[in-house]
């Protein structure tokens, strides 16, 4: 795959932002590792589920005899700052993808690809960890296209929406954006599940790159093209 400079630039900026969001998100979660459904939730209400980890607040009953240090201050600052940078680079990427044809050529599955047979073949290839052939090294395969599309156009919009819905000021300006999700605690719970999906995507993404050849894939995403060897 020949990656354009903009795709490579936004990819690595987003990588940095995503890792920062993930680490700080976990830190924020530790201060209250309980999830609820609806508008409100606190230690007096029944949670939907709890994460069995110690907390950074002594007021949360976790069953552990100790309290972790509070990291919420800088975590919240960095979480929102990374989110802003990611939204701007994400927008740049999406606008570029529409204008340059990256979306149409590289991401949207072609007509012949969109059959159950092609889909089954692609899934089978993945389960057998089949290394991409010559043709595939120069374009995304069907599952790759579908998962990138899902991340870009479903998971990212959803995580931004649920994140904003937790803000009291945003909720005051756009109350229906909270109501549709089922309330502010529901928004927080969905935010958590979307994070889990994005984290799974990250793990599979890294695994696939290792299967396809880490050196060449990294070279492609840094310098723009894999080595000549891969073409043969």
């Amino acid at each position: 795959m020949r990656h354009s400079a903009l795709v490579r630039f936004t990819h690595w900026i987003n990588t940095l932002c995503f890792l920062a969001l993930l680490v700080t998100g976990v830190e924020i979660l530790i201060s209250h590792p309980r999830f609820y459904w609806g508008e409100v939730g606190n230690i007096n209400t029944t949670p939907l589920f709890k994460i069995p980890i110690p907390s950074s607040r002594s007021s949360v009953p976790t069953g552990y005899g100790y309290v972790l240090p509070d990291q919420n201050g800088w975590s919240r600052y960095l979480h929102f700052q990374s989110a802003w940078v990611m939204v701007f680079t994400g927008l740049l990427y999406v606008i570029y993808s529409f204008i340059s044809g990256h979306l149409r050529k590289d991401l949207l599955p072609g007509g012949a690809d969109l059959s159950w047979r092609a889909f089954a073949t692609s899934i089978g290839d993945h389960f057998r960890f089949k290394r991409p052939g010559e043709e595939e090294a120069w374009s995304y395969n069907l599952l790759q296209r579908l998962s990138y599309l899902a991340v870009i156009f479903v998971l990212f919009p959803l995580i931004i929406w649920t994140g904003l819905a937790m803000s009291p000021a945003v909720a005051s300006a756009f109350p229906s954006g909270v109501a549709v999700l089922g309330g502010q605690q529901s928004a927080r719970t969905i935010h958590f599940f979307v994070t889990v999906l994005l984290f799974l995507f990250l793990l599979v993404h890294i695994m696939m790159i290792c299967v396809a050849g880490l050196r060449n894939r990294m070279r492609a995403m840094i310098k723009g093209h894999p080595t000549n060897k891969e073409r043969i």
């Binding site: 508008e39 929102f80 802003w84 803000s167 000021a169 909720a171």
Partner: protein, 252 residues
């Protein structure tokens, strides 16, 4: 140097200059419109400024969601507070009859109000959400006098930009801008769920800013200072929150 790399160098140079001057222009424009928060310096200044500026542009006049009485959290929730000092216990023993709220700074008529005087002002009740930055929340009915009424009584001067509020707990103070100070739902609250505001929830007096997170809703308030410059307070970051690593603007 090949033509291609020279062209790249020139393009990158132009883009950098455009980017930097664009940022500088945006910064001076934001400053002119009062969109720069007091803790805008440092590594996280960009994110904090974008949070605050975006909210002021989009949500300046928005109203916090109000709920029907059926949504009031039962049992009500009270987050643990640090032990209250001797002064508080003395006032509590006297049923807070001697509790005062002083209002000073950039006002025409500085004043000190007793609880009885505060309660005699026109009141407002609202059922709103209180969310903590930690992730928990509850809904309660809050009763109090709108801060805008108190500010009207003392007469804020035109150059006023912020209201600093202090707790009887000496290391606890915060500030809000005039958009929040004059917002109709910002209350000097003394009642909760139809009764007096419990000590655990900030009684006898708590500043309720329902469009911001719990930590901006300082408990046991004893003074309001109207100012045009937060640099003069504490470390100049707007409140104790940034001094402890937390953002000054907590609408997100």
């Amino acid at each position: 140097m090949s033509d291609l790399s020279r062209r790249k160098l020139i393009t990158t140079g132009i883009a950098t200059v455009a980017g930097v001057s664009g940022l500088a222009a945006a910064r001076s424009l934001a400053k002119h419109h009062g969109l720069i928060p007091p803790d805008a310096g440092g590594f996280y200044g960009l994110g904090e400024t974008l949070d605050y500026a975006a909210q002021r542009i989009l949500t300046r006049h928005s109203m916090a969601r109000e709920f029907p009485p059926s949504e009031i959290s039962n049992p009500p929730f009270a987050n643990p507070v640090d032990p209250l000092g001797e002064e508080f216990k003395r006032l509590q023993a006297g049923a807070f009859a001697d509790w005062r709220l002083t209002v000073e700074g950039m006002v025409a008529r500085a004043a000190s109000f007793s609880l009885a005087e505060i309660r005699s002002f026109p009141s407002r009740s609202q059922i709103t959400h209180l969310s903590c930055e930690e992730g928990w929340s509850y809904i309660a009915q809050w009763t109090g006098v709108p801060l805008s009424h108190v500010l009207g009584v003392v007469g804020t001067l035109p150059q006023a930009r912020y209201v600093v509020y202090r707790s009887i707990q000496s290391d606890w103070w915060d500030s809000i801008d005039m958009a929040d100070a004059f917002h109709p739902q910002t209350l000097v609250a003394y009642g909760m769920n139809g009764a007096e505001l419990p000590v655990g929830n900030g009684g006898p007096l708590r500043l309720r800013v329902p469009r911001q997170l719990g930590y901006k809703n300082v408990k046991y308030i004893t003074s309001l200072t109207v100012t045009d410059d937060l640099k003069r307070f504490g470390k100049g970051l707007g409140s104790v929150s940034p001094e402890g690593g937390y953002a000054w603007y907590a609408g997100i």
